[in-house]
């Protein structure tokens, strides 16, 4: 009988996911606030249903009562997050909140399935992170002087990265994490946010040539330190984000072309200079030729995605734990194996919906600093999603970054929560401006944003 329920639940989960995803795309076409509000509530209902069904399956498979308690705690957390955000910040973007909660829910389900112990830790960090995230928007809207300290951000960020490069412990062949007082952190996740603030601060001051040179040097220092720490994924995210921010600030495609040229040269140089870059490229070209060694991880990920097919094997019916470090770098492959590729395509579209929301907010900001911050954070998010999902499908070489909100990993969870709430802060800031200003126009004329 269990088998029937699991088989059936598989399709229920996919259906719920498709409904949610369609809603988060359709939202952009709804005109009246009322219709939107209704859709947001429905999204929440769908999300809770999905969470419930998935945990029912997990309970049937694991047969441990603690799963039921854990489910209760998670459901409470999700409800609390939704309620607190809505009441503390009635002007926050509800779509971004919903998407955030949905991605966290997917993460809960998969991390619990992969390792119960890990998921308890992950949950604790998530709760703490959310408390912080609830304060951040208020800080952003009050502390208007944060626009002035580009140099401070640069010193802070570079300092942290240097600390990592010098003192970090080596995990999976890359220097990533610092252990302070028993807590292991991955600073590059947090520096990412400070870095965007730094670049935004520099570029909003002016876009004269000398300022661009200064900014470029600052960005290059960040990227180089990351390359030296062999954290290539982060290096790529920092670099691409800078390039895009520079292009938007100057509106000059020549910078983009120049930067892209530099990227190609650097990539070719890196290929010949660093053995670990060559290894990654070789794995990408044919993981099976080095199956016994470095190709094993990617090969297993491909087997997992292929085994899942469109509809997945069903929770606990596959063997995603065959993939080394599956809960961090290859979470996407695990989801593909057990939930199926349709579910995964929906996940990609939800991430896209988040990105579109962020850019939308960037477009509405009047102050350049805030515009660039929103854009920069949106880009780090999008590029990170691309690197990890593309990498686990072998669409591009693997760089070893996490899928925000979904992969296990405390630093990633915390920094993504902060990133989302910074953007919420910007959104609220803009809405406040609108209100204090008057202008009915922005509300009465929503077609401007559509």
């Amino acid at each position: 009988m269990d088998k029937l329920i699991i088989e059936f639940s598989k399709y229920v989960l996919i259906t719920l996911m498709v409904i949610y995803t369609l809603q988060s795309i359709l939202i952009f076409a709804k005109r009246s606030e009322e219709a939107r509000e209704f859709l947001f509530i429905r999204q929440n209902v769908v999300m809770f249903c999905l969470h419930f069904v998935a945990f029912m399956v997990l309970y049937l498979q694991m047969n441990q009562s603690q799963i039921l308690f854990f489910y209760g705690e998670q459901a409470l957390y999700l409800a609390a997050t939704l309620i607190f955000f809505r009441h503390l910040y009635p002007k926050a973007s509800k779509l971004a909140i919903n998407n955030m909660c949905m991605l966290i829910t997917i993460g809960f389900i998969m991390v619990t399935r992969l390792s119960y112990d890990q998921s308890v830790k992950q949950f604790q960090i998530c709760v703490i992170g959310t408390v912080i995230a609830l304060i951040v928007p208020w800080l952003i809207s009050k502390l208007k002087f944060i626009t002035k300290f580009a140099v401070v951000y640069a010193i802070l960020g570079i300092g942290l990265l240097v600390a990592v490069a010098v003192m970090a412990t080596v995990t999976n062949g890359a220097k990533l994490s610092l252990t302070i007082a028993g807590i292991t952190l991955q600073p590059s996740e947090f520096v990412k946010i400070i870095y965007v603030f730094c670049i935004a601060g520099m570029l909003s001051k002016s876009t004269e040539f000398s300022q661009i040179v200064k900014t470029t040097i600052l960005a290059a220092v960040h990227v180089l330190i990351l390359v030296i720490s062999t954290d290539l994924g982060s290096a790529l995210i920092y670099f691409m984000t800078y390039l895009i921010m520079l292009y938007v600030a100057t509106r000059d495609w020549k910078w983009l072309a120049l930067g892209f040229g530099a990227f190609v040269v650097a990539a070719v140089a890196a290929y010949f200079l660093f053995a670990h870059v060559r290894v990654r490229v070789e794995i990408w070209k044919d993981p099976f030729s080095v199956y016994e060694g470095s190709g094993y991880q990617v090969a297993q990920a491909l087997f997992a995605i292929a085994a899942g097919g469109w509809f997945g094997t069903g929770l606990y019916q596959g063997s995603p734990t065959e993939i080394p470090y599956v809960d961090q770098d290859f979470m996407f492959a695990a989801i593909a194996e057990e939930m199926g590729s349709i579910f995964c395509i929906c996940t990609i579209l939800i991430c896209m919906s988040c990105f579109i929301m962020f850019v939308n907010i960037a477009m509405k900001m009047t102050k350049n600093f805030y515009r660039y911050v929103a854009l920069g954070l949106a880009c780090t998010y999008a590029i990170q999603v691309f690197l990890t999902i593309g990498g686990s499908m072998k669409m591009i070489p693997m760089t070893g970054v996490t899928l925000p909100f979904v992969s296990s990993g405390g630093s990633s969870m915390l920094s993504t929560l902060i990133m989302f709430s910074v953007i919420q802060g910007l959104y609220i800031l803009r809405k406040d401006e609108d209100d204090s200003f008057e202008d009915e126009e922005y509300y009465e004329e929503p077609q401007n944003y559509r």
Partner: protein
């Protein structure tokens, strides 16, 4: 999002006209924060500034969609190969839940099945023993053939949910899906007998569909006793019985290659190929290379058809020096030389290595199917099938369908065109030549029956570094000349001339099919 961007874009472009008219001084404002302006101005500047943002977000949205697109591509195109990958460990997990499925011939006989002893141990048995050894393969001591390539399909079950639940209750394993091949046991048997104790291979295809009807390679082995025989098989280099010569063998094609040489000549001389003439005095010399006709025969004056029918080496060496090497190579590559065969069983490439500045010697040797050219028997069967099918090569396939253990179809394979490679005129000319080879040429032994076949013989000389020398016997052709149903490729190692051993072997297959098997279908 798209809507947002679209409307913005149109406003942008209308705005741009205005901006350009006012020239650039405006741009300076853009780098300032602009909350001091009145609303209309603010809106205008905002739009200009957002242009970059809109472009960047288009790029990023494309990135997201490309991921979704790649995942779709992965599922549609790459998935089967990865599931059947030799390293795939997911399959051993299935093995605990699923009984490996059966393999059937097109005429419904069991070729491979899983027997379950009373104590529940499973073993794989092959009722036809050696007959299908290479194509079906084995599943212990590693895997080969279909057992290897379609491992995933055999370990999948599309049995109905109800069955699966019932079996779960009874705590028994689910029966995996069955493969039904396109191969016919009786045709396979006659090919097997036709090869006798010789080393070699026979491939039979259905020209109109690309179905593999029979594929035999000798020496062979018994998959039932592969475990006991393993060490002997591995150590026996002189026979290499595990090697599937039909797909992996690389033989000099000998005169069978003249089919392609002739096609190239016709293609270069569409209107005056009839004017070709050559007077054969038994050999031809150019620079320091001397080419003789088989056994020193002297053919005298010949046109193209006579040269083809006599398989005159002198005439074809002459043609080899005349044709354009690049277009010759292109033609062969269109027939899959220097490429992987479109079949998922392990196969070797057939090679055509003539370069544009090759010497006369190389050109002459290549044109008569010696030199550096090598082919697999399967490749030559495809060439014959292409002529038989009016110039269209079909993708070869050997599985007709996959079904559940109780007979519901899971996946039906259908014929797929590979490419149209020859024009109608070219087919008419070549098939006429090939028919003449059978009625009045080197394959005369097939004539005098109710049917009329067409084909080309070959006597491929080889010399190895070890000093061994000999002649492989070839025949490629099809039955019957007017309405082709079978295309065949026969090679018998050290069989002497084509007519001495390959032609009689092909005749055995043709007779069996014509007088018996065709009425059973």
């Amino acid at each position: 999002m798209k809507n947002i961007m679209k409307s913005r874009k149109t406003t942008d472009s209308t705005r741009r006209k205005g901006r350009d008219a006012q020239a650039d001084p405006d741009e300076d404002y853009l780098d300032q924060d602009y909350d001091d302006y009145d609303n209309e101005e603010e809106e205008r500047i905002r739009r200009i500034k957002n242009k970059g943002l809109v472009r960047v977000s288009y790029l990023m949205v494309a990135l997201f969609l490309s991921m979704a697109g790649y995942l779709i591509y992965f599922n549609v195109v790459l998935r089967d190969d990865i599931n059947n990958n030799q390293y795939n460990t997911k399959q051993s997990a299935y093995q605990e839940q699923i009984i490996r499925g059966n393999i059937y011939s097109a005429d419904g006989n069991v070729l491979a099945q899983t027997d379950i002893a009373e104590d529940g141990t499973e073993s794989r048995s092959y009722p036809y023993s050696n007959l299908f050894a290479h194509i079906v393969g084995y599943a212990t001591n590693g895997k080969s053939g279909i057992e290897s390539v379609h491992n995933y399909d055999l370990l999948s079950s599309h049995a109905s949910i109800l069955d699966q639940i019932r079996e779960e209750k009874l705590d028994t394993k689910v029966q995996g899906d069955s493969l039904v091949l396109t191969l016919n046991t009786q045709l396979q048997q006659v090919c097997y007998d036709a090869l006798g104790d010789n080393k070699g291979a026979i491939v039979v295809l259905e020209p109109s569909t690309g179905k593999v009807l029979a594929m035999v390679s000798k020496p062979d082995f018994d998959p039932n006793t592969i475990e006991q025989d393993w060490d002997a098989l591995i150590n026996d280099d002189s026979n290499s019985s595990l090697f599937n010569r039909a797909l992996q063998g690389q033989y000099p094609p000998g005169s069978t290659f003249k089919i392609l040489t002739t096609l190239e000549y016709i293609r270069e001389h569409p209107d005056d190929y009839q004017n070709f003439n050559y007077t054969c005095n038994g050999s031809i010399s150019k620079e320091d290379v001397r080419i003789t006709c088989y056994e020193g025969e002297v053919h005298g004056y010949e046109n193209l058809e006579q040269a083809f029918v006599h398989s005159c080496n002198g005439a074809f060496a002459q043609i080899g020096m005349e044709v354009n090497n690049d277009s010759y190579r292109k033609l062969c590559e269109s027939f899959l030389f220097n490429k992987d065969l479109p079949i998922d069983l392990p196969s070797s490439q057939s090679l055509f290595r003539l370069s544009s500045n090759a010497s006369y010697g190389e050109e002459m040797m290549t044109a008569i199917g010696q030199g550096e050219t090598v082919v697999s028997p399967f490749e030559m069967a495809l060439v014959a099938a292409t002529v038989a099918n009016g110039g269209t090569m079909m993708n070869p396939y050997y599985i007709d369908h996959i079904e559940t253990y109780d007979g519901d179809i899971v996946k039906q394979y259908a014929p797929v065109k590979y490419k149209e490679l020859m024009s109608e005129e070219e087919v008419d000319i070549l098939s006429g030549f090939m028919k003449e080879v059978v009625t009045d040429g080197t394959a005369r032994k097939i004539s005098g029956e109710e049917y009329t076949a067409a084909g080309k013989t070959g006597s491929a000389e080889y010399g190895s570094e070890g000093g061994a020398e000999g002649t492989h016997s070839w025949f490629v052709g099809y039955l019957d000349a007017e309405n082709p149903k079978l295309a065949i490729s026969v090679i018998i190692e050290d069989g002497g001339s084509g007519s001495s051993s390959a032609v009689p072997a092909a005749k055995m297959v043709f007779d069996k099919w014509w007088y018996e098997l065709q009425y059973q279908q």
